[in-house]
Each structure stands twice: as structure tokens, then as C-alpha cells.
Symmetry: C2
Subunit: 241 residues, 2 copies
DNA sequence: CGCATACTTGACTCTATTCAAGGTTAGTGG
DNA sequence: CCACTAACCTTGAATAGAGTCAAGTATGCG
């Protein structure tokens, strides 16, 4: 019989622990954390992980699958603020206001872990490494958001698409998957919405990049054919030097 | 002779303490915090508070004046990611990477407080309320960034301008200043850059809103004449219902 | 007072949007 | 396994909003 119960092992043995909350935590602290983490049954596509306006109680970690986060604007249309892959944390934007400013929905069948925030706060009072990790994650989230902002400001449709594809390529690679062949989990119109473009523009832009031999796309399956040219497209910027 | 030294008083007696780090901290804890806060001599317009690529050591709080934060894109042009008013914190996006992803410069003569981060972390291990406040500030920052993203995605020049003016109006009001008459601290082209617009478009958009009687602008002085119409313009969204 | 910078204005161009229609895919039920 | 339906995606033509280029005007600093 092992010294630690299966529940205490779940974070340590999770393939994602080096990307997720337990990152860089000593093993003992990881077990402590695992005790308050609630794993849930799989959620099928289109299930709400959290809803805008709802009372903030927990943060969530994506374990498998993928999630999109969006806000309903007063005008009635939604704006998608991000897509989340395994190991990424949801709900951190609700700490200040104690209620969720945005809604998160699964894009496919997904496993999500729930971490009750009050317990996490108490735990991090006892475990300074956990407190530091929380701050690090939020800080990383902040710079990611800033990159998204740069993505939208004064960039052409081609640049936006190139940026987001390279971003996904990188994130898949971080998860041990191929950086060149992957499957986008969201619909074209979700991606268009995220990039601040019309779906039609998205479609045409895909074709144009395909015609130039930078990538190939069939449905949701993407193949990056020329990552260097894509990166140059991004860096080339508005004016171009 | 008072029980606490002047240094220990500086945060408690600062007019901004209810907006800044000490917010909701008990008085004793505020004094503890004040001990590690370094106030500096005024910085004149155009001084770097922190520079992209620089080693992360401290976060900074604006005490008077204003600051802009920008990133130099690989293409050579800069993108301004935010403007900071008194009581706002700079540098939180550097915690994860331990080096600043962006550059912050004063827009006018400003006072800035420096808070060494290692000391702040140690202090917050002893003071749970301070830890909570740090997380709250970062969370608030996250939702602010998300609003900026919404601002840029698929909104017209008019809507972007209306949004940013209402945002400043609100932030000035929070600082006890007029919500209707204020002075924008940045240049037109900085504002245009922030909104992802060409300076010329900015200029024309100001004129158009002025012609419709929504506001009046003379140099950097803005008067909001019809806040309701401005808000409706923002909410009216792309399609309009 | 003069120079430099910042701002404005006009004319033209171009990219992305909109509207409209047709084609594909995926998921459902027989 | 196939047929059917409803999303989803693509394509085309016309339009509009913002960008660019270029010149002129205000503003402020030395």
C-alpha cells in the first residue's frame, strides 16, 4: 500500500503537471495541492465550464480537450477572447470582482479540473512556492493578453492568421505534439471572431496563404509548410521595412 | 514624537492609498508595506520607468503624472499597450519571465514609487491580506486587458474613440477629478497607436464626434458633452440591433 | 522670433466587409 | 449504411471605412 493515496497522486502523475499549477512545486506540495483539486467527469462539446455573471468560486484547469472563452457585448454579439489548451487555467480574471466577466465553453469533449479558490488561497499561505506559481501564471497570462492586443492592432488579415497559427503551433509543441501538423479545435467563424475578422475574410486569407505554399488546410487540419515564411510575414509588419 | 516614523506613514497618508496596493489593508500592514516602498524624485517627461528586456526587480506604482507602456515590434514600429494614471501598477507582466516584456515612459513630470518584488513577496507571505490584494490587482489588470482586446476587435474608429474617452472619464472620476472635463496626457498619435488607428483617422474621428455635439476638444483638453450618446455609440456595436 | 514637432485636411487607394448564393461537412435518424 | 438536414464554409461582386500620401496649419520650445 503506497504512502500517498491515489487522490494525492493525481497532479503528480498528470502528464501536464509541468505546464499547469504544480509546475516547479516540490512533490510534497504537489500532493497537498492535489487534495483540493476536484477532477470531474468528461464534459461534452458545448458544456459551460463557467458563465459570465456567475459567482466566482473556483478556477479551472483544462486537462484534455479545449475551451473557448468569450464575452457577450452589450450589442448582443459575442467576442471570443481566447482558446485554452490542456494545462491552461481559466477564471483568473474573476478574482477581483468575485464574479466571472466572461463565459467558457468546451469546444470538444474535455476534462476540466476544478480548484476551489478559497482553499487554494489558504494553501498558498502555507506554501510560498505555490503563491509564487500563482503570481507567475497570472503574469504569464498578462503578457499573453498583451500579445493578443498587439495581434489585433493594425495588422492585416494575413498577419493575424499567421500569428495565431504560429501561436497554436508553439502551444501544441509545448504539449509534445507536432508543431507542423495539428487540428484546430474551433470553427472558422470562432477563429475569425477571435482575430477580429469576418468569417469570409478568414476563408479567403487561408486560401491565399495556401496558394503561396505557406500552409495547407483541410477542414480543421492544418499543416504548416513554411514556418519561416510565416514568421517573416508576422514580423514584416504593417509598413514593411 | 509619533509611534511610527514618517517613512511608515507614506502609504497611509497618500491620497491614492485606496486605489493602490494598500487598498483594504489594515493600517499596521500598510506601514509594513510602506517600509519597503521607495519613493523617488520626480521624473520629467520622457523618462524610462522600466525598459523592455531589462531585468525584473521591482514593480512600480504611479503616484502623480502619467505613464505609457509600449512594445517595440520586430518590424521596428512600436505598439502602445496602455496608459497609466496615479494609483496604477506597472511591471506585473514581468514576474513570469523575470525580464520586462515592454517599456514604460513618463508622459509628463511624474512621481513613481518603486516596490522591490522579492521583498514584496516575502512580506506577502507574512501578510495574507497583501497576497490577496496582489492577486486582486493582477486579476483586475487581466480584465482590463481583455476589455482592450474587445476595444480593438471589429469596432469602428468612432467606437474605439468613444470607448477610450469613457474609460479615461471613469478613471479620472475614480481619482476625484471631473468625469466631463479632463486633459488627455498623451499625444494624438500615441492615442491613435493605442487604438490601432492612423493619426489622420484619429483626427477626423474627433472632428466628427465634435460636429455631432458629443464632445469638444481643444488640444489635449476634452469636454464630454453627451456621455449617454457616447455610451450608446459604444454599445451600438458593429451591426447595430 | 524661428524652428521643429504635432496636428489637420484633402484626394485617392486599398483592404476588409457586406450581401447573396452555392457547396461541403458532419451529425441524426431511418 | 444511407439519406436528410442543419451548420458551416467558400466564393463572387459591390461597397465602405480606414489607410496612405502629400501639403498646409497650429503649437510649443529654445
Amino acid at each position: 500500500m503506497p504512502a500517498t493515496s491515489p487522490a494525492r497522486e493525481k497532479c503528480r502523475t498528470c502528464r501536464l503537471h509541468s505546464l499547469c499549477l504544480p509546475r516547479e512545486l516540490p512533490q510534497g506540495d504537489t500532493s497537498e495541492l492535489a487534495r483540493i483539486v476536484q477532477t470531474r467527469r468528461p464534459m461534452k462539446r458545448g458544456t459551460y465550464v463557467l458563465q459570465a455573471g456567475g459567482h466566482f468560486q473556483s478556477i479551472f484547469a483544462v486537462r484534455t480537450g479545449s475551451v473557448k472563452t468569450s464575452t457577450l457585448l452589450p450589442s448582443g454579439d459575442e467576442h471570443i477572447s481566447g482558446f485554452h489548451l490542456p494545462g491552461e487555467i481559466l477564471g483568473l480574471d474573476a478574482i477581483a470582482s468575485r464574479s466571472h466577466p466572461s463565459t467558457s465553453v468546451t469546444l470538444e469533449t474535455s476534462h476540466v479540473c476544478e480548484i476551489p479558490f478559497t482553499e487554494l488561497e489558504h494553501l498558498s499561505e502555507r506554501i510560498p512556492a505555490l503563491q509564487r506559481q500563482l503570481l507567475r501564471i497570472m503574469s504569464r497570462e498578462l503578457s499573453t493578453e498583451q500579445s493578443t492586443t498587439h495581434l489585433l492592432a493594425r495588422r492585416s488579415a494575413e498577419q493575424r492568421l499567421a500569428m495565431v497559427l504560429l501561436d497554436f503551433s508553439q502551444r501544441f509543441a509545448n504539449r509534445g505534439l507536432s508543431a507542423r501538423h495539428f487540428r484546430l479545435p474551433m470553427s472558422r467563424s470562432d477563429l475569425a471572431n477571435y482575430l477580429g475578422l469576418a468569417p469570409e475574410t478568414m476563408s479567403r486569407t487561408f486560401r491565399r496563404l495556401e496558394a503561396r505554399g505557406l500552409l495547407s488546410i483541410a477542414g480543421k487540419a492544418v499543416v504548416i509548410l513554411d514556418p519561416i515564411a510565416l514568421a517573416e510575414l508576422v514580423d514584416g509588419a504593417s509598413g514593411g521595412s
